[in-house]
């Protein structure tokens, strides 16, 4: 286990080193700070996406779901479109990215909390019902966003479109500081609930039997996921397949049920695939395609493979 993590760490470091130094041609003062910001954003996003998907799959006991299913990134797009629709693209909240970010993240957490609270007030509602409702809300937010997008001025639409696709070329580096602060705060908060993840993977009944305060803990995890997804979406845009891909790869590589290894493994795989993918996009395809296209393509193929495999095992 430790050897696998070691190898992954080395691969990740090597790839980052290549990314930082390739084609620098001596202009270190110019190249390094720019690339450093970019790589920090990539590492942060990769880690967040892997982690939040892993936790989400564990609490739902389902290996083909990602947090996007409860409509979190649709909500983010809806908020962005809504602000532009009402105030125009030059408005304060859009200009000040930190304010915009905090409002969006706050609303997303509120949404996840309300969804949970409303559903779990009555008993016997299982987590799949929550997912179904989330799915419907996600579609609603998508449709509302599209509706507003066709009404607004084409120039304004450009601003929206910019946020619609995951891109590491215009990473929101202004948000890096606040993102790092939030991620560290979330990590500290998460630490004391970490031990419950292994048991939650056994399902609700076993978790309760073993003394996990189930509703309380699952709610905390959903809030953590909501904060993390909003950070990742704000930094680079919706990039959902990546989580599915790396978490399942982590399960296959690590072959363990212990989340302390799964978390580290999936975060490292995520960083490796993002940095590696970005190198391919920038150096092999010379920007003729985007990373999200590649991620979604590979992710889609892998998703079909997963479906076929699950289908067979029944």
């Amino acid at each position: 286990m430790k050897a696998k993590i070691g190898i992954l760490t080395i691969v990740a470091i090597v790839l980052i080193a290549i990314f930082m130094s390739i084609d620098a041609s001596g202009n270190w003062d110019y190249v390094l700070p720019r690339r450093l910001k970019k790589i920090l954003a990539i590492v942060l996003t990769g880690a967040i996406i892997a982690f939040s998907t892993l936790v989400f799959q564990t609490i739902t006991n389902n290996r083909i779901l990602t947090p996007s299913i409860i409509g979190l990134d649709s909500l983010y797009m809806f908020i962005q479109t809504f602000v532009i629709f009402i105030f125009g693209s030059t408005h304060m909240t859009l200009m000040n990215k930190n304010v915009n970010f905090l409002i969006s993240a706050g609303l997303m957490v509120l949404f996840a909390g309300l969804l949970y609270k409303w559903l779990f007030k009555r008993e016997g509602q299982n987590i799949y019902f929550l997912l179904l409702i989330g799915l419907i809300f996600g579609t609603l937010f998508n449709s509302l966003s599209t509706f507003m997008q066709v009404l607004i001025d084409p120039n304004e639409f450009q601003v929206v479109q910019d946020k619609m696709f995951a891109s590491f070329n215009n990473v929101n580096t202004d948000l890096l500081v606040i993102s790092f602060v939030l991620v560290i705060a979330v990590a500290v908060y998460f630490w004391r609930y970490m031990k419950y993840l292994d048991v939650l993977a056994l399902g609700r009944d076993q978790a309760i039997n073993l003394g996990v305060p189930y509703d309380f803990v699952v709610k905390r995890f959903l809030i953590i996921i909501a904060i993390l997804v909003s950070i990742a979406t704000a930094l680079v845009g919706p990039i959902t397949f990546l989580g599915l891909l790396v978490v399942n790869l982590a399960h296959q590589v690590m072959k363990t049920y212990q989340h302390k290894y799964l978390i580290v493994g999936s975060v490292l795989i995520s960083i490796v695939s993002l940095v590696g993918g970005l190198l391919i996009v920038e150096r092999v395809f010379t920007f003729s395609t985007t990373l999200s296209v590649i991620v979604n393509f590979i992710g889609g193929v892998y998703f079909i493979y997963l479906l076929l495999k699950e289908n067979k095992s029944w």
Binding site: E123, K195, A201, L202
Partner: protein, 252 residues
Amino acid sequence: MVEIRNVSKQYGSKNVVENVSLTIAKGKITSFIGPNGAGKSTLLSMISRLLSKDQGEILLEGKEIGQCKSNDLAKKISILKQTNHITVRLTIRELVSFGRFPYSQGNLDEEDWRYVDEAIRYLELEDIQHKYLDQLSGGQRQRAYIAMVVAQNTEYILLDEPLNNLDMKHSVQIMKVLRRLVDEMGKTVVIVIHDINFASCYSDYIVALKDGKVVKEGTTEDIISAQTLKDVYDMDIQIQNIDQNKICVYFA
């Protein structure tokens, strides 16, 4: 001692469990019997806090279970449901080690592992303890889950249809293990069971439920009678004494 006082549960407008009051004696095997939909499993789930109750009280040694901390309860009472679909791939030993979670919070010390080893030995799983659960037969898997509950070392052990889908040999094996848990280790076992002959041969007390109500409760001797069984199952069931066991003949 578990005291159940006027407990009710509704699903929608249907009363699944209606005003049930019971006392479960310590150090005995108590079986819940009754037709499908009688509310046996629901009652068991409420005792083990998997389901909340709509009315009434359930007292564990004088304390309402809703007031207890979940982790403290996990050291006193354990439940095994009939379907245990686990998406993670675990070996028997790993599964059994989960039984120590209430004590160790995931960091098992030597004592915890001793309990794990003992539970594996108790269920005679030593030879296959490193096999994965999906490689096991139904009987072995059921024993692995029971080993986990044994490792949890709770005074009260609740089992929802532990013999579900098992053949005669494995059923007898599991019932003997439960009997030993009670006789040798002083545990209190409560099971939901469909096979009334197993209930008759292995339990000390029987609670007969029908339509969410207790029809009759008492010692095995009292309950296994043609009249009571007719009240519960609406069937004429003959009872034969074979080697001091009361055997119900209901096949023809």
